[in-house]
Amino acid sequence: MPTLRDIQRDIARSILSPDDGAALTHIAGDGFAAAQRFKIYRNNVAITLIAALRLAYPAVDKLVGSDFFDGVARAFIAQHPPHTAFLGDYGSEFADFLAAFPATAALAYLADVARLEWTANVVLNAPDAPAVRPDGLAGLAASEHGRVRFAPHPAVRLLVVGYPADAIWRAVLDGNEAALGAIKLAPELISLLVQRKADSVVMIRLERDEACWTRRLFSGVTLAEITPEQDSARFVVLLADHLAHGRFADWTTLPPGHAATSVRTSV
């Protein structure tokens, strides 16, 4: 007699692949074919997991159409079934899959839209945390400013895309055909700051140097190390903007002489 582990392995593998031979050896065929009974589970699993992906990637779904989405999603599920019962975490590899999948590889912007949607999910589902208030650093002596380092708020992420994925995403989800038609689909490096605000997602474009400074701020590099010799006024404006919009969860000051130990990040 097969063990429970054998049966579950055979059933699971048969559900995730087109071959149901192994599963059928375990199923009673009373009345009518075991295959028809088994097919209900295969369909239910597909419906649930495709729905989870559609929920995470609504713009990709609209861009390719729901029938096509179902097909790509089925191929993805077969290669990348979920590894946890928490489907809110399911589908992180979908963008890379789209980039490599023969039927979608030519639509280079599609993977970027998927990357952006995944980032939107991440910030939407990030835990709540109090943000550092703009006046939070008041009272700090000017001599200490250089030794300040920040921790990013959990509901904020930086993302670089190779196409105007933010414009596509917005136009698709708004159903704005005119805006979608006006987008130039040329490769273009765009740095985005993605943030949750009152249960919705806000995306803003950053200049390349702003994105670089922000990335270093979010990695805990001290202000002294980030502040550029030129353009320091722009950096201060950016920092004030981050504080005004609650993009940091915490700040600390390093003791004197420790500033140089921070990790340097590349652009």
Binding site: M1, L4, R5, F86
Partner: protein, 295 residues
Amino acid sequence: MLSVSVLTDRVPETIPALAGIGLRFPHHKAVIAQRPPVAWFEVHSENYLQGAAFRDLEIIRRDYPVSLHGVGLSLGSADGLEAAHLDRIVHLAERIEPGLVSEHLSWSISEGDYLGDLLPLPLTEEALDVVCSNVDRFQEAMRRRILVENPSSYLQYRHSTIPESEFLSAVTQRTGCGILCDLNNIVVCAANHSWDPHAYLDALPPADIKELHLAGHTVKALDGDAMLLIDDHGSKVDAAVWSLFRKAVQRFRPLPTLIEWDTNIPPLEVLIEQANHAAAILLEPRQASAHADAA
């Protein structure tokens, strides 16, 4: 956990022996804004682990008792429970203070792959050991008694040896868990596997039944002239299920009873109307003969 309610302005956690409704996303706004006359709500735990859904549930919990009904713990997995997921459910229960916590007699995970559906178990002594060990672990982690629900199913295994109602009763005896008796699932399984729904109900231990579920199903025609009942929770409760519910209330006692609706979700008013129908049956006087074997 009991004393926290006193500090937090919440209604008590106890689920009353009245009709409740399965809370679904499309109804959050209406429930929060209108606070409709519903005795209690039940949610699928996996849908409320984070984000706006969780925040809505915290708000709704202030005014209603809430039951947590899991669909992802896979109590029947030979590999044991997923530790990270168990932690999430424990954490959710700490935050929500549910009146009841339940899961299914089924499995969804094999070799680390999660299938997103409730699959039936081969009903064998080995599977009974596995389920009991997983229920023990769940109850230890939750530090409370949990309920296990009889599943709907579309297939049976060649080497099952134990009738499902006996299997479920044995899980209760060995682990001390309670039973969530889904009357729609009994009707669906009875039709799909040629079981007697009344014999199934009669075989369950009355004192251990702690909650009832009601839902709609559909009929699916298969090749040939065979058909299956599909437990899709997408329509009003069927007459056969109302009839079995009436029998269950007589045989067991008035119990917390839930209206579940998961596909083609109608306006909240339709669910309230179904709950009112269930509530009326819960209030029907019990016949003397039905009391005898109830605890």
